[in-house]
Amino acid sequence: MSIKDQVREEVTIRFAGDSGDGMQLTGSLFTNTTALQGNDLRTLPEFPAEIRAPQGTVAGVSSFQLKFGSNEVLTPGDECDVLVAMNSAALKANLSLLKKGGIIIANTAGFDKKNLSLARYPDGVNPLDDGSLDNYTLIRIDVNRLVKEALSEMDISYKDQERSKNMFVLGLLYWMYNRPMESTISFLEKKFGAKKPEIAEANVKVLKAGYFFGETTEIFSSRVTVKQADLESGTYRNITGNEAIVLGMVAAARKSNMPMFLGTYPITPASDVLHGLAKHKKFGITTFQAEDEIAAVASAIGASFGGSIGVTSSSGPGIALKGEAIGLAVMLELPLIVINVQRAGPSTGMPTKTEQADLMQAVYGRNGESPLVVVAPQSPADCFMAAFDAVRVALEHMIPVMLLSDGYIANGSEPWKFPKSNDLPQINVEFAKARSGDDLEPYKPYNRDERLVRKWAIPGTEGIEHRVGGLEKEDGTGNVSYDPDNHQKMTDIRRDKRNLVAENIPLQEIDQGTESGEVLVVGWGGTYGTIRTVVHQLRKEGMDVSHAHLRFINPFPKNFGEMLSKYDQVIVPEINDGQLVRLIRSEFMVPAKAVNKVKGRPFGVSELKEMIKAAIEEKVASES
């Protein structure tokens, strides 16, 4: 039988196995290879919070979904074409995400009595044998046995054999989708080569065994090719959201020629920001792993007082702890960047699952009137410019800026047409000047320019010794003041100063659609790709729907209110219980409609499409 070549526009693969099966690595390696092949792609890693969840159980399943294509790919896909199930629990947990008629690649060794029982299949039931998968293309492979055979001539432990299973599956998928193995081989050699050359050799052997298994067996009648995507021309790399934040931070430090100080405390899913920045000391970056979230932000404020870019990173629970100190930074009028990689809450919530429910916390979550700036990246690669912008605004306006990412874009990845450093804007920082002379008036740290911004007056500067603090202060002198009118004045100033940031950010643009019309879908943050895809489909179906995606939420872009007024309906999809929608309603008195989901997962395209359609019809129904 000859093997046919098939060309497809897009493919979604889901790797699923036990936490110990290396599914995240398998997915990342497939992603890198695919990116190097020039496809557009998006990924969705999903894993349990437990480091070693009970083996073989549904709770312990870790998966990695990847969609790649020759057209624009903006989401990791609702359903997958191929599901790799390394054991019974992986099948059980993920079958509902496989398209009807899709391919299941099942490792039969993971479907023995013990595994079936751990996955809680009823006694005597094996889904591979009972006909329940008749609507799918089921490929059974005893991966364990094939790996053992592939390594029969090597002196390698059972444990290391087990660990290389994932490479077999990866090799097989490389064959199925016509991908080269070079990048993975060089990765394995780099990772194990020097210290454990036999492990590198074993993994490469198994990878190739998987590839050749696809080539020589006649399980598959065709191979699939996904052509290079028609991306904007240029040089690309693959990047996750958290990596992009790291690079955005370093770039902003270099473009301002400022030292950066990250004070932080490990927390899922934000820790990779610390891991990333900790490597970049030579760029003038200092990282400080503090004793807790409060010390983390406090140390960043201390560094900022001394003339560094003070940064702190966390997730919702940590941001809650930082609240008081962020208020101090508002009062001190010092630059501070607070990175919140949101996760599902409240309390500890679901640390490895995504949500957008910290928007109100970002905007209002401090005691007193405590205005700051909120910036939200819309995709993994966009985290770069959003982080850069957050630093720029903080430095230029002497104000704390909250960067609201989320677990979905933090761990997800996509191709990124990275900029040249010369193309990035310079960030200008000016410190207060030294003064000398005998009868100097006391220095006035709270004198302001026309944007209401005070000077960054750093210790070590002669003649401007001064004190700042969390107590209300008189404008200009900074002296402690309980004067009623002064408190009113300072509250107004801090608000107006924040609002004036709107003069320094781009106007809101329509991402897709018309400048006025029936429906405007307004999103923010990580929902961008899904909303864009949905709106594209709705427009194709002939509906009058447009899409605007907010990057700056606090303050809103100057033209945003007017933009909203030009549509009959405003619909706001969010992965929360309705937060931006409330801000829009209260700020612009627009009866915006909420479309919400809080399941720890992003919107699916078809799901969101139905929800938006329902929201539109609801309006029509109530009018008739």
């Binding site: 690309y236 000391k281 004793e291 409060i294 201390g302 001394g306 560094s308 001190l332 004190r467």
Partner: protein, 359 residues
């Protein structure tokens, strides 16, 4: 080329000419603000001694920063004509850490109290000491919450009757010096507001120590806890109740310098100097001996644990150790990275390891 930031340039350009510093007087370190502590508060003398010590640091005013938390003592920075920050409750050590690590050229002082540092900020206090950040921490201990008007603090003796403990507090109090030694503090000392000369000396010693200096200062709260330290501060009882430590000197106290402390193994005992014991039999203070410093820190409860004996309270430097500071460690790593990792090439960083071309 290795990264030279605007702050690196700033520090070089603004470096004070230490050989030609202005002749400061203590008064010149007073800010233009009215001091608003209660009349008779111990904070006044501490402020005065800090101001008096400043000209002797050999530093330019512009390079000195005072950071405080919340409490009566934490108003302190407003009264110093240096750079200063009155921050939030308990967090001054964390803020000071960020400042000192990023600006090792500055002399950073933390002003804190027993409420600020031993309860809400106890964690930061301990972490600062164990990291050995090169800052000076002045812990104003008045064994009471003054600013919130008189609740017991973690330093109040058991049984303290206060507004929040009308039947007497049942908390076992912190022993701040034992706590500091337990956190591996590298400089642990005690002084009192009523002995200004010794206090100033201890402030200067704190400054001279390279590392985190913890100076506990007994401070009288005239309104809510008047006389808490009278036993040690009153001229009549001080000679028998307080013992001043001098490095290399035997532990002698008493009205007529007639008492001493000797060690029987690791058990301290109070002895009368005379026929049976002479100076040569006494415990000689060694600031570098951590074990003995710990014993001294236990001269805290009226009677030392397991002993019938009553020990005088030690004042002075219990412990001083030379150890790498945290800020030096951080800066050495950064310098090493700059030296060994080649050019800080932003374009190479943005590009990463694997790229592809779309035509």
């Amino acid at each position: 080329m290795s990264v030279q930031t605007v702050i690196d340039d700033f520090i070089i350009k603004n470096a004070a000419d230490l050989d030609n510093l202005p002749e400061y007087s203590g008064k010149e370190f007073a800010s233009d603000q009215d001091v608003r502590w209660c009349p008779g508060c111990g904070d006044y003398t501490i402020l005065k001694q800090v101001q008096n010590a400043m000209p002797e640091l050999g530093l330019a005013k512009k390079d000195i920063v005072f950071i405080s938390g919340i409490g009566c003592s934490s108003r302190f920075p407003y009264y110093m004509d240096t750079f200063g920050m009155h921050s939030i409750h308990g967090r001054a050590p964390a803020i000071a850490t960020g400042l000192k690590v990023s600006r090792s050229d500055l002399s950073v002082w933390i002003i804190t109290g027993d409420g600020d540092s031993l309860s809400i900020g106890a964690n930061h206090f301990a972490q600062l000491l164990r990291r050995n950040v090169n800052v000076n921490l002045l812990l104003f201990n008045n064994q009471i919450y003054g600013l919130t008007k008189g609740q017991y603090s973690p330093a109040s003796p058991e049984g303290s009757v206060t507004k929040s403990s009308p039947y007497g507090s049942i908390d076992h109090p912190f022993n701040p010096l034992a706590f500091s030694l337990g956190a591996n503090g590298t400089f642990v000392a005690r002084a009192m507001d009523r002995d200004p000369k010794h206090l100033k000396e201890m402030i200067l010693r704190s400054h001279q120590h390279n590392g985190a200096s913890m100076l506990e200062i007994y401070q009288n709260c005239v309104v809510f806890n008047d006389g808490a330290f009278e036993l040690f501060t009153d001229k009549k009882s001080r000679p028998t109740e307080a013992i001043y430590l001098e490095d290399g000197e035997p532990l002698i106290f008493g009205k007529d310098k007639n008492k001493g402390i000797r060690l029987d193994g690791l058990r301290p005992e109070v002895v009368e100097l005379g026929d049976q014991f002479s100076k040569d039999d006494l415990w000689v203070h060694d600031e570098k001996d951590q074990t003995k410093a710990y014993l001294l820190s236990r001269f805290f409860e009226q009677n030392a644990a397991g002993s019938e004996e009553h020990f005088p309270r030690p004042f002075g430097v219990l412990y001083a150790e030379d150890k790498q500071t945290y800020d030096d460690g951080v800066n050495m790593q950064i310098a090493h990275a700059k030296e060994t990792q080649g050019e800080a090439d932003l374009d190479a960083l943005l590009e990463g390891n694997e790229t592809w071309e779309v035509k």
